[in-house]
Symmetry: C2
């Protein structure tokens, strides 16, 4: 049985886990990321936590196939460095792969966190045995990743394509991404919550509850989000044409059936491919996807 | 110098060329496809034409690296078979790779024609040295292809993703693809021509001429097409994030600057990737792209 460590670095929290080749998490801990204290401080605390996690798992460090990191992007997976002033200020150009490899003496890999979660689902979750796979994650924002021919699809200069900003509505709301009417601007928790607040609801969850209770203005907000997801799914089916399209994140944890039902009905009308060849499915691993997927970088290699 | 034969099979015409490893066409001929006469008849005429083309090039058949075919899809590149009752009736389930390999004694490859044209541009034209590359071709319809990590991106069950039908306009015109407001339904020659006819112009070319002359209703049709292309380019930049996005086909041969100028301006507003990392360029090889790209299947292999 191969053994690896998965690390999931977010703006607030960093999770670290000992993961088996079956994707099972044997031990796990979380620490504050606290990037503003600087990268040397972060490295030291992460190294200490890796030792703790493998010790608790009863694994000698020498037994590790390696360490995989999923990190809030932008990251450079080839150089092994983090370039995220937005949510990891103080860690500019942090060469985390080199730093951890030097301190821990094992191979280290780095991916964007959305791609790590996608890999987790493909190796151990709802994307197993499928190719291509696209995953869309609906939380505060909308993120995603694409796997084709067994590999993460990288864009120009290795950049991660930000699927949450594909265009879905003509002349929609303006987004920080630089256009109007992108998926995130309509179907993210933030977007649903903001429109809800303007109509008198406290947050996105309240909007969904009111829509279910038959409140017309809440139902309109939810319908717009559902239509936006259907359009995005249509467009993805005509660009990547995935065998499996995974919907994940907090919104899908609670409302998957609503979104997936409409998206599947839209795909069934497609004439340019066999609609039965594309299936929509719910992401299965939740927050574990990122940790397991990060570990899979080491488990799949060597 | 490696030598190969490229074959470009369309609904009406089949072109066959002797192509060098630099992508140079040494000899070429065309024959009617005439698929309704059946596949045995088609095979026999193609085999004879391949012999003619290599003889005219002064190449012994034994010197060929192989034969590459680009064919109007759907095709199955893995099985080497054609499944296109729409524009190749009478050739259902034609195992063309097996048939030509048996008759000619050389290796044979098959790709969708849009993917063959993309390969041609990537090997010998405006996509050289770039990865990923996306090509959109605007003619009677709108087609396209995606190359990533050096390979054609295939969808579920090896199907070719029909990029022309990604969604660009909310509640647009209905399309045979199964949705409303896809790229082809607004920016194809057919779509521009149909809207033009309704407004009194004879065809798409007349619409572009009238728009340039300042006719308001023609200008509106062209503006809609330009906006549709901009939206499609935006969406492609947020899914595949190509290093190079090629625009080709009859419409771009004449109006590339109009479309590319707007698309480039839209991309310059993007904040989720470095806009300088994505360049829009005009397809360079025209009809030769399909022949050279088909031949490249053999030239790149072995």
């Amino acid at each position: 049985m191969k053994k690896a460590v998965g690390i999931d670095i977010g703006g607030t929290k960093t999770a670290i886990a000992a993961v088996t080749s079956e994707g099972r998490i044997v031990s796990e801990l979380a620490l504050p990321t606290n990037s503003t204290a600087g990268f040397a401080d972060g490295t030291e605390r992460i190294v200490r936590s890796v030792h703790t996690v493998v010790t608790r798992a009863g694994w000698p460090c020498e037994d590790l196939a390696g360490i995989g990191i999923g990190c809030a992007g932008p990251v450079d997976p080839v150089q092994g460095s983090i370039h995220n002033p937005y949510t990891l200020p103080g860690w500019e150009d942090a060469h985390i792969v080199r730093a951890l490899a030097e301190h821990l003496g094992v191979p280290v890999w780095l991916e964007n966190d959305a791609d790590a979660a996608l890999l987790g689902e493909c190796c151990f979750g709802a994307g197993q045995g499928c190719d291509p796979v696209v995953m869309l994650t609906f939380g505060t924002g909308v993120g995603g990743g694409i796997l084709a021919q067994g590999r993460i699809v990288r864009g120009a200069r290795g950049q991660h394509p930000e699927l949450g900003h594909l265009s879905v509505v003509t002349n929609g709301a303006e987004c920080y991404c630089g256009t109007r009417g992108c998926l995130e601007s309509i179907a993210s928790g933030t977007a649903i919550g903001a429109r809800g607040e303007a109509a008198g609801w406290i947050d996105a969850r309240a909007v969904f509850a009111a829509a279910r209770a038959g409140e017309t203005s809440a139902a309109a907000i939810v319908a717009d989000a559902v239509n936006a997801v259907c359009t995005a799914v249509w467009t993805i089916a005509h660009t990547v044409l995935p065998q499996r399209l995974l919907l994940g994140g907090g919104i899908m944890d609670e409302h998957y059936d609503l979104f997936a039902g409409s998206a599947t009905a839209a795909l069934a009308r497609a004439t340019q491919f066999d609609p039965k060849s594309v299936t929509v499915a719910k992401a299965a691993l939740g927050n574990r996807a990122g940790l397991a997927g990060a570990a899979s970088l080491a488990l799949r290699a060597g």
